[in-house]
């Protein structure tokens, strides 16, 4: 095919909401945008292991310990699929890891908040995974094939995690008054950061428009945020907890919940690197990576048939 023919093919695939595959021609900017987005998503899974992983050793029942450990393991698995998807675009895992550790690529800022009680494990499942699913379900139909297929598998598992998180909170709400307080306190801390997971308001989201045109992104930030709020409020009621937003109210004319404005300044600080856990998260990852260097070298040498004497 000629240059213009491949370009026309690309445009046509996008237009009929079909998939672009690794061997297809694609514009450089499309490739770059995808790499950035998939990498950021992969990094989020890997860094996201830490806040929940923080409570594996202290899980208060063996059943919950198994559930939590399996969940964090799934996140490692998601990271693996997504790094693989990114690799189909011509970047190596080493480069991606390096981009994470040097701060060239970001991960979701939600993981720069600390987990401070076991209820946070439930809240992260319910709110953070819930928000992630709102963001990600549309990505199952994203225009790049390997990414879309990874997202289908991931979304299935995330939904499962979200139900487990909600179930933990529901169980705790049926427990002692101290447990109920623990849930409420946790939701108080995570509510606003969860809303910020949808990104800045549409009017301040410079990259969104092009991503939507290319079918990489399928919904606007504000639409998804509204959808999340509408979905979550009845769940909070069912739990018997109070969302920490005095402006939250059903708007019959819009047929949506009205809600207040997140603290965008705090979000900006967290994105800038001054969040409560940014340094800790990257340091943890860097240390794991450095501590593992000799093992990776040994595995490579062994695979290459190398053999050493005593």
């Amino acid at each position: 095919m000629t240059d213009s023919a491949v370009e026309a093919h690309f445009d046509e695939v996008i237009a009929r909401h079909d998939r672009i595959e690794p061997r297809d021609w694609m514009p450089d900017a499309y490739r770059r945008t995808l790499v950035r987005q998939i990498a950021q998503h992969a990094h989020s899974e890997i860094i996201g292991m830490q806040p929940e992983g923080n409570w594996i050793s202290r899980a208060p029942s063996l059943r919950r310990k198994a559930i939590l450990l399996a969940k964090v393991q799934d996140e490692a698995g998601h990271g693996l699929y997504l790094y693989s998807a990114a690799e189909t675009l011509g970047v190596s895992r080493d480069e991606l890891v390096d981009n994470l550790l040097t701060g060239k690529q970001k991960y979701s800022s939600i993981f720069n908040y600390p987990t401070l009680s076991y209820a946070d494990v439930g809240t992260i499942g319910w709110l953070v995974d819930g928000a992630a699913i709102c963001n990600q379900v549309p990505l199952c139909r994203t225009s790049y094939g390997p990414y879309g297929r990874a997202m289908i598998r991931i979304c299935k598992e995330e939904s499962f995690h979200q139900r487990q998180g909600y179930e933990l909170l529901m169980t705790m709400m049926r427990g002692t008054p101290e447990q109920q307080e623990m849930v409420q306190e946790s939701v108080n801390r995570f509510w606003w950061p969860s809303l910020m997971m949808f990104g800045p308001p549409d009017e301040n989201s410079p990259n969104s428009e092009r991503s939507m045109a290319w079918g990489i992104k399928r919904n606007s930030n504000d639409d998804l945020r509204q959808k999340f709020v509408d979905m979550t409020v009845p769940q909070a009621d069912a739990l018997g907890i109070c969302l920490p937003d005095p402006s939250l109210a059903w708007n019959a004319s819009r047929e949506h919940y009205d809600f207040g404005e997140p603290d965008w300044d705090e979000l900006a600080a967290v994105i800038r690197g001054d969040g409560p856990c940014n340094a800790q998260r990257i340091e943890h990852r860097r240390r794991a990576h450095e501590d593992g260097a000799w093992v990776r070298e040994a595995a490579t040498a062994f695979a290459a048939g190398g053999e050493i004497g005593d």
Binding site: I46, M49, Q50, G53, W55, I56, S57, R58, A59, P60, S61, L62, R63, R64, K65, A66, L69, A70, V72, Q73, A76, G77, G79, L80, Y83, Y118, L168, T171, M172, R174, G175, T176, E178, Q179, H284, R285, R287, A288, D291, G292, A293, W294, V295, R296, E297, A298, A299, T300, A301, F302, G306, E307, I308, D310
Partner: protein, 258 residues
């Protein structure tokens, strides 16, 4: 039934404490694939621990720590979270703190080779629960043995650095291995006396060492305290610290629902 319960606790606590140490690796492995594998190992052992704790509690309800009236905490959790260090029956090998990746490989090798041999024989137990746990466990342990054996070989023959680290880990952990196959004839009618698998364990380790070109360490076994060891509730200084962390949330909420 008290003897059976004590026997189950030994097998359960080995699995539980090893699982806790393995789970500490989560998000710290050299590659994501290893992270997934280590979590699998921890999950397998955690599953075994739960069944065995439940079996211990069923055999002898008196061993389950008392909780406030009406507490919904199930027996497996009462046993895991409300016993003191001196009531745990695990071998000391399971509880020593994590080191580098060679350390986890060597510990798992020593542990899984011995546990595999015990569980293999335990499949024939007259106790149907123990037999069922063992039947499932043997498959899991077979994988653990392979995983650690493969890594042992890889590190032994990888680089000079990996070889050096492997030997250091082997040197540190070898002295703990005696407890894994120490005599415990108390329940030979349903259990397996670990001393009867000693030769089989030794043969497998000998083979791994030979294949890897690693010399068998010459160090003797670690002494106990007045002749008492991990199985007798006399542990290293590390177990009570591990438990302080593991039990903290459960103990803060003895009537909690999770």
């Amino acid at each position: 039934p008290d003897e059976l319960a004590r026997y189950c606790l030994g097998l359960a606590d080995d699995a539980l404490i090893m699982s806790q140490r393995l789970a500490e690796w989560c998000s710290r492995a050299p590659e994501m694939e290893d992270d997934v594998a280590l979590a699998n190992l921890a999950l397998d052992l955690l599953g075994q621990a739960r069944l065995l704790l439940a079996r211990a509690a069923a055999a002898s309800p008196g061993i389950v720590p008392e909780l406030p009236e009406g507490s919904p905490v199930p027996p497996e959790d009462a046993l895991a979270f409300f016993r003191e260090a001196g009531q745990f029956r695990n071998v000391r090998l399971a509880e020593v703190p994590n080191g580098d990746f060679a350390h986890v490989v060597v510990r798992l090798l020593l542990f899984s080779v011995a546990r595999f041999e015990v569980l293999e024989r335990l499949r024939l137990s007259r106790d149907h629960v123990l037999a069922a746990v063992a039947t499932r466990g043997v498959k899991e342990l077979s994988y653990h043995r392979d995983w650690s054996g493969r890594w042992f070989l890889t590190l032994a023959r990888g680089t000079q650095e990996s070889h050096r680290r492997l030997l250091a880990a082997l040197d540190e952990l070898w002295v703990f291995r005696g407890e894994l196959t120490a005599a415990d004839a108390s329940v030979t009618d349903v259990g397996v006396d670990p001393s009867t698998v000693s030769a089989a364990v030794d043969a497998v380790l000998e083979q791994v060492l030979a294949t890897s070109g690693v010399e068998r360490p010459s160090k003797g076994a670690l002494a106990g305290v007045g002749g008492r060891f991990g199985r007798d509730g006399v542990h290293t200084e590390h177990l009570s610290l591990l438990l302080a962390e593991m039990q903290v949330v459960a103990r803060a909420h003895p009537s909690g629902r999770w």
